[in-house]
Subunit: 488 residues, 2 copies
Amino acid sequence: MRRSASIGVIPIIPFDRSSPVPFYLQIYEGVRAAITSGRLSPGQRLPSTRTLAEELQISRYPVFSAFDQLLQEGYLDGKVGSGTFVRYNIPDEVSRPIGARRPSPHTASTPVAEPTPRDESRQTSDFGPLAVNCPALDRFPSEIFGRLIRRHATAPYDLLAYGDPAGYGPLREAIAEYLRTARAVDCDAGQVLIINGSQMGLMIAALALTKPESAVCVEEPGYPGAKQALCTAGATVIPVAVDKEGIDVAALARLDSPVSLVHVTPSHQYPLGMSMGLARRLELLRWAGRADAWILEDDYDSEFRYASRPVGSLQGMDSDNRVIYLGTFSKVIYPALRLGYMVVPRQLVDTFIRIRTALDILSPTLPQLVVNDFLRDGQFARHLRRMRAVYVGRRDALLDALQQDAADVLTIGNTDAGLHVVAFLRDGIDDHDVVRRAASLGIHPAPLSSCYMGPGARPGLLIGFGSSDEPVLRSAVRTLAGVIRDLK
Amino acid sequence: MRRSASIGVIPIIPFDRSSPVPFYLQIYEGVRAAITSGRLSPGQRLPSTRTLAEELQISRYPVFSAFDQLLQEGYLDGKVGSGTFVRYNIPDEVSRPIGARRPSPHTASTPVAEPTPRDESRQTSDFGPLAVNCPALDRFPSEIFGRLIRRHATAPYDLLAYGDPAGYGPLREAIAEYLRTARAVDCDAGQVLIINGSQMGLMIAALALTKPESAVCVEEPGYPGAKQALCTAGATVIPVAVDKEGIDVAALARLDSPVSLVHVTPSHQYPLGMSMGLARRLELLRWAGRADAWILEDDYDSEFRYASRPVGSLQGMDSDNRVIYLGTFSKVIYPALRLGYMVVPRQLVDTFIRIRTALDILSPTLPQLVVNDFLRDGQFARHLRRMRAVYVGRRDALLDALQQDAADVLTIGNTDAGLHVVAFLRDGIDDHDVVRRAASLGIHPAPLSSCYMGPGARPGLLIGFGSSDEPVLRSAVRTLAGVIRDLK
């Protein structure tokens, strides 16, 4: 711990030169914690990067990186190198959205609908050009991963028996470490539960936290799998509109019925793609405290972020133990592995394990042993870096193709992260119809309207770029544009 | 199809010399179908084995085997070789239990309790002497199975993506064939869903078939995992007493509330071990028709039967599509594989797939590829035969040890099948206390009272013999007996 005396604006930044945590991350987290805890006041000037670097006796580079990330995420205002300030008057302005203030085209009033989502089944067997939720399996390091599978092909007897329903201990440790470092999740291994992909986490939370007397809220538009899990658990599901900053917390607060749980995708809103800014995050956490509600943070693909480093987790900002954090290896390894994880507030761990036991007792051991090695050998980090480069290339190719060959029929939305792009259709076009016709030609975008529960769905397409290489993407976009033009 | 004209008691036995189905099984199923359909009347004399063998132009041996099995299962009366008769007047006597009529020591009136089972958590992390539900992992053919895992360590890309949530097609085919042959299940591959062990099947059925206005019934005593799934799904669970024949159908029929689902273990009642006789099966099916209820047939370990061949499934007797059949590879391969299957009436298939998708989308692909090969290479059948011999030896060693070293403190129950034996304690002993003390010495029987929901639990122990070899069993029994004696 070092005390920054010279400038007076950073009361305490925990900093340890011998820690394995990168310098920039220590600084980022230290400043972020000082802001969210109120130790740094809104409007306060931060020390220059040079001053802070001298103070910490390190080069300026990690300080630059940390400040840049804090600017990206809306904690700071200004320009790195010429003066940075804490951005918001947190006590007074917490309920006002940050960032661009013009109304998002997707903002809608909050429809309170019956839990009758229209077409919730995700096209799980789809695998082909423009398919959503599918990673670059053609670039998967099969040989490396296969070697790890072979390594564990004959496991010791005790690993063949029923194991710990919370998951294989060493893997829980490895995941906790990864999440603390890469996602600023505040957790230890005892809070990590190994599950069969994030869908199971949605179901466990739905079964654990749904109460007969209260509703659960989802983003509108939002992830169909979440609604599916909540409805299956018997919950009354209320869709709440998102704007450019994510879920409309003011609309949440106006609901008549008590709310026990809200499902959000703060890193990368599904399906529209924006990330939730700092003020909205604080507003959401504060609302949850007032409403005595749980927040289910679904961090399904935050590893792939192209314009900036991944945004820290909402869970890491929560001092009230109200956030359940969900992640998966489906996008970063492969879907058929069926392995994911959830980080659970300590007071819920026993309940969640009991429900998981009722679901299917535990995850299979072999994939856990393999992924544990993959993480610990450093292969996982290398694989992520390689895949980010692959996806930047594929995304750029898709955007080029959309602009060149489909600009007359599709309007492109947010493209900063993830494995798909949203493109809007002209009002009046039935996106399910487009998807059916495209599927008959072997092309598999998903309908945006399936992500809506209430009225007011915008027609559009979720166009995946993860699973196909550039030439396939270009050709698929031309075919897709043709399908849409033929509808006119 | 051959018509047996000479004797007149077997109207039609489908028999095909060129079929891969063994002769004895064709005869067994033909006669069974004739009885359950009413084409063979109660009291009717069957042709002699010699006559039938001549009629079918085969040796007497398969006819002997078929009749022996039908006698074991209570379809026939008499003695093979000296005259056999259809055992029951099915139209008139269907509500009367067959077999030994003296009241079972386990018969109790039907307590209608709140769904507050006492200790439902199964000791999933227990692995050691006398542990229940654990197969002979020390005798598992790790090399053979490991070779299959290595074969699939690098799978084609399309098998890494989301696949069919119903499961890998070739495996569904292989399981359907296995179940038709070995368990007389009436199904095709389209009705087979691959799940993560039978526990997931319990949960899917619970979520699909629980209705707010009706109750679900379980056997008392019964399998704690079933109650756990049903309670988690929000069902009102009513325990119904079992007698020597299985669940008391008359008690089911007397219930005031409507019943949507009943969970039963007809092949091998969990935990007491008896199998449900023909009359009780028919009675149960008929009750389900009247009550418009579903039957969940949990066939968790029917492969291991020592006194006779496995009893045919209840599902195969059901002409009304009311039975959901559940099975698992946990006992016959290994628990940490997490692979099982359910056979679903056609009208429920889509609903069950939708719920399974909400739970965790699909089972991992790798274990499905491996088990598919294991089944199709014939290794599975070989493994089952070897394991039956291993378990007979271990069961006999356990029974010997219990008789020699624990007869003063434990009364042995049914021992014909499965991987555990029930042993009753003197009334007044707290079986949880025995289990705790035994666990502190590294021995892991389970408390019988955990299998009860209502009052009237008999104290006892479920003593597993699957996972330990003979010397370990003997020594563990001596230690266990000492623990119980010390309580006095």
